[in-house]
């Protein structure tokens, strides 16, 4: 009786365990780090600077977030964007002497209205084309 048990145990130990084992139902990890990482097939194994986010945490992002200017008034650097600096610090709005601005450089609502072919012809003919 004992001898049989010993033999059975020995046989169990001798049984080969395959490397491939069933791991159970596949599950998606609860937390996945989405920070940009180099692509596995990238020849350089690195990412350009442009991929790196300056905000690694939410609080850092919040510090730099803007809504009609920075939310945190401690961010005053020029890099903070609109409202980061007082308007007076930006210098005069008027163009220096010898420099000209075109109104088409302003936001689109200030652009000249496009001319139609009929208008151009009317101007070129001194208005005669409108009555032809």
């Amino acid at each position: 009786m004992n001898a049989t048990r010993v033999l059975r145990q020995a046989a169990q130990h001798a049984e080969r365990k395959p490397s491939i084992r069933f791991l159970g139902k596949r599950t998606i990890p609860v937390s996945v780090d989405h920070t940009p990482q180099p692509h596995p097939a990238s020849p350089t194994h690195s990412l350009p600077e442009s991929f790196k986010s300056s905000h690694t945490t939410f609080s850092s992002y919040r510090d730099h977030a803007q809504q009609f200017g920075p939310l945190r008034k401690t961010i005053t650097a020029a890099s903070a964007g609109i409202g980061g600096k007082a308007g007076s610090d930006l210098g005069p709005v008027a163009a220096p002497k010898g420099y000209y601005f075109d109104r088409n450089e302003l936001p689109s609502r200030f652009h000249r209205a496009p001319l139609t072919a009929a208008e151009i012809e009317a101007i070129e003919t001194g208005g005669a084309a409108s009555f032809a």
Binding site: S19, T44, R109
Partner: protein, 506 residues
């Protein structure tokens, strides 16, 4: 004077950079009435309907996303289905049958009468296969609710793709996510203009109207050797010129590459390895190529009716308007992405030939599924160490994982086991005994590191090696798995036995 003025304007401009001001409404929308339904935003807009693009579109449709796929070719499937893998396999299969009937039937006990080649019908059979498959993909689009736009897409801004429609006119599509899947094109040979008649790429090589007397193939990679096989079987005198000392490209195991070269040479293909093409001239009746030893030596002139340029492929981003969104390409023209296929603009992703990794249709398919999963679930999977490669010559060559030269270079110890098809019963009965299975495993853990096969049906058999490698199997795991008798797959099992112990039949 005018130029001075323009410079002064440019200098002064930063004070009025419109992009730094909050954008409220455009001048047109301020004064015109628009409808909410006019610009419905899609969950995913895919530029390119090749293997990467169409698979991503179908997967996105299955995941319940609103998806649009833009393709300018007029048919789906990209290079693979239209002018690559699929038509070339049709020609390879049928030219092999023709060659076998001509040269390999008598000793099998089959005597046939007058055998004639009908090249027109051969091409028609190829076109039937292609059109059947491309229409099949269109059906799958309908089945999975994918909107298909035939036209050339270009970035207008980070969320909008402007499409020049193939039927005339234009439209634009907005997407929360955008996927670039524009694929690749054949790399031209400097100084030799491609006309797809006498100087051809793989696209021209699957559509020749007559069998060229002399064909020179520049490049002894997979595409070059497959096309060399087709036209050699149909009667061309073929010479393959390869810069490297081995054929098959850098991924093929050296021992297998040597074996493949020997077998293909026996079939009548001439090889000039370690040879560079200096220049080409197609002004005369024949195309002339000046070639020289890659290490320097005596130059010689090769003449051919047709020259096939098969020196590789390059990413295709022409007309995509990447400059409008400031996306960067690397030094080889590939779109730079991170591990989740995101470009530096995170909602714009990229997969397939146009970005990193081997330019293989099945790699693109894997990426297409993974990228949709990343968008939808935040988690995807592609194992770049486990992507099989297949060369569909006769015999086929297939491999997955690392080659002996890779491991030597990396200083990794390994153990090799081989089994020849000449000792396999099914190969013997088929009278196709050229080739072998070669397995490489870790000497300590016995974990599989690579599988290399040259032989009949290698392209099918490599699937077993890929599965084993993906699962992290040992060679003993494969050897102890029962394989049916008599099958070619027994050679695979026996090679595994030879790796961890000894093969029975060799």
């Amino acid at each position: 004077m005018l130029s001075q003025r323009l410079i002064a304007r440019t200098v002064a401009r930063p004070a009025f950079v419109p992009s730094s001001l909050p954008r409220i409404v455009s001048s047109t929308s301020r004064w015109s009435r628009t409808y909410a339904s006019a610009a419905e935003e899609k969950d995913l807009v895919i530029v390119g309907g090749g293997v990467a693009g169409y698979v991503a579109a179908i997967k996105a449709g299955q995941e319940g996303m609103k998806v649009t796929c833009i393709e300018k070719r007029g048919t789906l499937g990209g290079t693979c289905l239209n002018v690559g893998c699929i038509p070339s396999k049709s020609l390879l299969n049928n030219s092999h049958l023709y060659h076998q009937i001509l040269h390999d039937s008598k000793h099998r006990g089959i005597e046939v009468g007058d055998v004639k080649l009908n090249l027109k019908q051969l091409m028609k059979a190829k076109e039937q296969s292609v059109s059947g498959l491309t229409k099949g993909v269109e059906f799958l689009f309908k089945k999975n609710g994918v909107e298909y736009i035939k036209g050339a897409g270009a970035f207008q801004d980070e969320h909008t793709i402007k499409v020049q429609l193939n039927d005339g006119g234009e439209t634009s599509v907005r997407g929360k996510n955008i996927l670039i899947a524009t694929g690749s094109e054949a790399t031209p040979f400097p100084g030799l203009e491609i006309d797809e008649q006498r100087v051809i790429t793989s696209t021209g090589a699957i559509a020749l109207e007559q069998v060229p007397k002399k064909l020179v193939v520049i490049g002894g990679g997979i595409i070059g050797l497959e096309m060399a096989s087709v036209w050699s079987r149909l009667g061309s005198q073929v010479t393959v010129v390869e810069f490297l000392d081995q054929i098959g490209g850098p991924g093929m195991d050296l021992e297998i590459a040597k074996s493949a070269q020997k077998i293909l040479k026996k079939q009548g293909i001439n090889f000039k390895t370690g040879t560079k093409v200096l220049s080409g001239d197609k002004s005369g009746e024949l195309v002339k190529l000046e070639v020289d030893s890659a290490k320097g030596g005596k130059a010689e002139t090769l003449e051919a009716d047709v020259v096939l340029v098969a020196i590789g492929r390059r990413p295709y981003t022409g007309g995509l308007g990447l400059e409008n969104i400031g996306l960067e390409l690397d030094e080889r023209g590939r779109v730079i992405i991170d591990s989740e296929y995101r470009t530096k603009i995170p909602h714009i992703r990229c997969v397939g030939d146009v970005t990193f990794g081997p330019m293989l249709a099945h790699k693109a398919e894997e990426e297409a599924v993974a990228v949709v999963e990343y968008i939808k679930k935040g988690y995807g999977h592609v194992n770049y160490g486990c992507i099989p490669s297949v060369m569909y010559t006769f015999p086929e060559v297939a491999w997955v994982g690392q080659s002996e030269q890779d491991l030597k270079k990396a200083g990794i110890k390994y153990r090799v086991g081989t089994f020849p098809f000449s000792a396999n019963s099914r190969a013997k009965t088929n009278l196709d005994t050229d080739g072998m299975v070669k397995m490489i495993a870790d000497p300590e853990t016995d974990r599989l590191l690579g599988v290399h096969i040259i032989g009949p049906n290698a392209g099918e058999m490599i699937a077993e090696g890929t599965l084993a490698l993906e699962y992290g199997a040992s060679s003993e795991d494969i050897a102890r798995t029962c394989h049916a008798h008599p099958t070619l797959a027994e050679a695979f099992k026996e090679a595994a036995m030879a790796t961890y112990a000894k093969a029975i039949h060799f």
